[in-house]
Symmetry: C2
Subunit: 365 residues, 2 copies
Amino acid sequence: MCIPDEITTPEVMIDVDVLDRNIARMAAATRARGVKLRPHAKTHKILEVAARQLAAGAVGLTVATIGEAEVFANGGVKDIFIAYPLWVTQGQAERLRRLSAQARITVGVDSAESAAFMGQNLGTDAGNIAVRVEIDSGHHRSGVHPDEAAGVARAAADAGLEVVGVFTFPGHSYAPGMPAAAARQEDEALIRAATRMAAEGFNVSEISGGSTPTALVGGDTAATELRPGVYVFGDAQQLELERCTPESIALTVASTVVSHHRTGPGEPGRFIMDAGSKILGSDRAAWASGYGRLLDYPGARITSLSEHHATVEWPDGTPMPALGRRLRVVPNHVCLTINLVDEASLVSGGVFTGRWTVAARGKNT
Amino acid sequence: MCIPDEITTPEVMIDVDVLDRNIARMAAATRARGVKLRPHAKTHKILEVAARQLAAGAVGLTVATIGEAEVFANGGVKDIFIAYPLWVTQGQAERLRRLSAQARITVGVDSAESAAFMGQNLGTDAGNIAVRVEIDSGHHRSGVHPDEAAGVARAAADAGLEVVGVFTFPGHSYAPGMPAAAARQEDEALIRAATRMAAEGFNVSEISGGSTPTALVGGDTAATELRPGVYVFGDAQQLELERCTPESIALTVASTVVSHHRTGPGEPGRFIMDAGSKILGSDRAAWASGYGRLLDYPGARITSLSEHHATVEWPDGTPMPALGRRLRVVPNHVCLTINLVDEASLVSGGVFTGRWTVAARGKNT
């Protein structure tokens, strides 16, 4: 595919046709599994993408911060889950109070102390905030052991919060060969926590899991809801994990070849493109082939990344793309890429059709 | 140091007292070496920081993109070097034309083809743009071999551009034990290229090198100018390379402890902070101790980073910081951190004094 002339480099480019297919496919797949879909909006941070997800049947959005929730609530979204173990200060309580007047707001909690602190700062408004207890299903980041979920739920209820369920993020699914095992552990952990909480008298109606690698794995699940994010755009990590195909990559960074270097005969060529870590992001898992992929040249490797330079190693035997050639780069982790730009260019049917604002860019607090 | 109440987390915080000391020290050191200082503004992207650098004697600024040059030229900076091998399309030629009416503009070039293309698109305005030939001094990114510099200079002159000198970036200095060796290679490469160019009749009056790791290494240098960037703020990479001290760290990310995990007896503790890759950036060199450092707790290690979570391993034997504690995180690579925020909070004498806009944030094109 050629890059339309309206697009300069380096610039983020969304293929809206592919985006719409990705949204429809995940909506159909979760419907077929009988679970609700609450996509994680940290991946796109764009109101127009959220509107398409909700139109396709999503029950609401997931976000990571109060600031992201504010952007989407102001944009009219009525049901938002902040999937993070918030430490709610007085300032944050005031923001949650305002949010809960605009939308149904659910937040994460993973300790008795943070539940008590949140309840204290929310005061008489605590009952307007629903909470889900975060459990650790094997990723070992935040979240309590499933056996401790009921204790956290008890503290939250004592603090006046409305306990509605449990959630987990199986982040250890982002590695080769892991999705199926991580999905199983996720399911077991959710069942265990929900069972313990129910035994203590809680109404555990929201059992939330999911990630792009695990959302489409397996059949029956204990989850009532899944929260994949990356599926809307895809990225090089999902490609290399075989959780998406080149045809389902909806977001690329348009980039120009600016510098050529021929090494010795029989050695691979090397060239420099103008997309660096300030637009691609610099996440690189130990198992990744490089710092992203060239969508139209699967044999090329991005071996090094500076702020404004991608160093590409070119397989021996074919001529390197000429200086000035514009190529599509697939970032390793698309959630970081979108957070680096204020706007994204849109392409449909190979034609430039406009730009979307990345409304929640940089909303870290 | 405590974090002033005006600052929420995660938020970028600049200690202006430390910043001013860093600016004064580099200005004095380059003056003592008899070289001009042209700081790289990609590190800070802030007009107020540039003004302080120029007031302390910098001859102008270095930037990486035309967009950054536009921000600083609009802010009144009169001498700007775009240290990048630009591929100048007609659109970019138009922007360079406008820039050259506001400031003296110098750009990089590293091939005969890109020089010819630039000259062709600039047309009769080519003579208003000064060029420096980029050479490779061992980093193997962009830049030609020193022996090829004169050929590129010839092509640039033939294209109507004003050839004024040569430059290099010794990026291989960013590794333990490398700064002295990289500085020597840098110097040798600059001398070699400048000598060849002079022999071909070019007036090589601008010989530009430098990076924060090499700027203060050694005495005599062939360079007439150095371009360090990171020295204004410092970062965890420079700390671990011993190119700065904890006392010279001017920029940190204020972050809150949100989740606690106690592992078995005799094992280190683990906690989660709310600063992740969307504010710290995720650069991590192979030799780095982790994804950044806690400024006030040198024994702690940031072992893992998600978008909104830093996982900290705490040394055994001392109590972990309590939930809700606010700590200062030093990012690995500060140039990425500043590019993630629209504003930075200022502290002086331990007191909050306001905010600066990151005017050139996201100016990738």
